[in-house]
């Protein structure tokens, strides 16, 4: 198991989702190397998950681990603020 687990909710092919995927992938690779899991969930394909997680905004990034669970909305352009906003202790 990896120490960092994320889920990114997107909807189909929209531009915001594409930008978010690119930004979070780059952030994870640079920050956690192999020590992370990132699931990208398309709510147009897995509608039941949107209901289950009560996702009303797209794109939404969910930090599942480490706890507490947190959500960031939008295309994640300002990745430099992710560490601080998600309370990630990288030491």
């Amino acid at each position: 198991m990896t120490d960092y687990v994320f889920e990114l909710f997107i909807a189909g092919n929209d531009l915001l989702g594409k930008r978010a995927i690119k930004n979070i992938k780059l952030f994870c690779e640079n920050t956690f190397q192999d020590n992370y899991t990132l699931d990208i969930i398309d709510i147009e394909i897995k509608q039941e998950l949107a209901g289950k997680y009560r996702i009303s905004a797209i794109p939404t990034l969910i930090k599942k681990k480490p706890l507490p669970e947190m959500r960031i909305l939008g295309d994640l352009t300002e990745t430099d603020q992710l560490t601080m906003e998600l309370n990630l202790d990288l030491d």
């Binding site: 909807a11 929209d14 915001l16 709510i43 949107a50 009560r54 996702i55 009303s56 905004a57 797209i58 794109p59 939404t60 507490p68 669970e69 947190m70 959500r71 960031i72 909305l73 939008g74 295309d75 994640l76 352009t77 300002e78 990745t79 603020q81 992710l82 906003e85």
Partner: protein
Amino acid sequence: MYQYNDLLFIIENLPDPVIIVDLDGIVKFINPATESFLGIKKEELLGELFGFPLGNEGSKEITFFRPTGERFIAEINKVNVSWKGEKSYLLSLRDITQREQRLMNLNHELEATILELEQAKEVAEIANNIKSKFLANMSHEIRTPLNGIMGMTELLKETDLNDEQKDYLSLFSHSGKLLLKLINEILDLSKLEAEKVHLDNVMFNIFELVESTCQLLTSKAQQKGLSITYSTDSQMPTIIQGDPTRLKQILFNIVGNAIKFTSQGEIIVKSIPSTYKKHNYLEILFSVSDTGIGIPEDKKKYIFESFTQADPSINSNYGGTGLGLTISKKLIEMMGGKIWFDSKVDKGSTFYFTVIMKIAEKKADELKPEKKSKKSNQNKENQLSIVLKQDNFFSKNKPMRILLAEDNDINRMIVEKYLKSNLIEIDYAQNGKIAVNKYKRNVYDIVLMDIRMPEMNGHEATQTIRNIEKEKGRKKIPIIAFSAGATTEEIQRNLRSGCNEHLSKPIIKEELVNTIFKYFEIIKQNQDEPSPNICKGMTC
């Protein structure tokens, strides 16, 4: 200061949704507008994890889904606030679905317009292509009868005419030359527009180019009582690399215009190296000043457009096609330069243009000097016959045997008249195939080959003759191509097919005679050592 309740009242009644979340993204407050906006009841949201966007500057675009599945786009703004003593974020939302939808519709409309424009462009390009081909064909077709008219005019000049007839003939000849110039320029412009013109890249002497171009125009200037002064800056590298023919065409045109529009005074032509560029490239600045009529202020912007002269009456007073500057501008742009001018009515104009050329690495003496002006050729009319008589070779040996391949009777007659001499024998072939057969069976000294002929064209006939020479070990016979096309590519195609020379129609007597002179020595050598394997029968 506002009271807490006043502020709460304002937020509660804002038409835009407002959400307050703590730093973990848990919802602490929503206003009624949020409930209807998200389609979720207040109780369902309070205490839930909602999240927040990154960054504090500007708004973010986010797609929202209502529980009904309805999708809309919103702008979300985040501001740091204190809520009940705790650091929090105030998120405000604004529905921009309609705006986005409008933008999307506009985008679609724009894409459709672009598509339509692209299609229209394609259609226009096809039409333009057809126009270019049509012009090229038409100018070719017009040139052939024009060749006949001009040739006959030349011949008529040599007959006994009274003064009145001479005057008429001079006008006749002048109109013919104008028509030919117009056809050449239209063809040139259509090629430039179709981007079919490729610039040469050869070494040439820039000093000589300026000198020879100005000398060509000196007599025209002198006829009007004008003087031409030309100078090339001593700092200019002697040998540069580029397209001398096209550069000469530009300079000829601009200096020619200066002469045309000046009735007294002088024309000053200058060229200087203006800017040295990377990789041995040089920007050369030319200026051509005159003391002529000048260009009125309101006509200045049209001066480079096709068929435009400053005043419609100019054409009748000064002549010209109105295409020269358009062609020059296009050529200058192809050479990486630009053209502009200063002009005052009744004071004169100065045209400036730049071209970018490469400084050649070879030294000046490695370059063949350009041919000097052709003034000395003026007296060479009928000289062929005189020279043949003086030259014992042709009187002692056989006469000069010419094979003329030409399908047009009038053109054939003109060449015959031009070369008329009892020391010359002319044999005719109506097409390339007959020319090749005649060449197989007979011995000739020189071939004059029209390019466009039925059955077998001049290129194929020339290639076949060259092949026969190789196979049979026959001497290489000089072949002079006659063609209506005068473009660089056409000349190159003629030379590639094996012709030694190219003469553009209408054939000028002087040029034809001079060209034949060039091959005198070769003809004599060929006659001295007859070729083997001349086939006398029809079986070859």
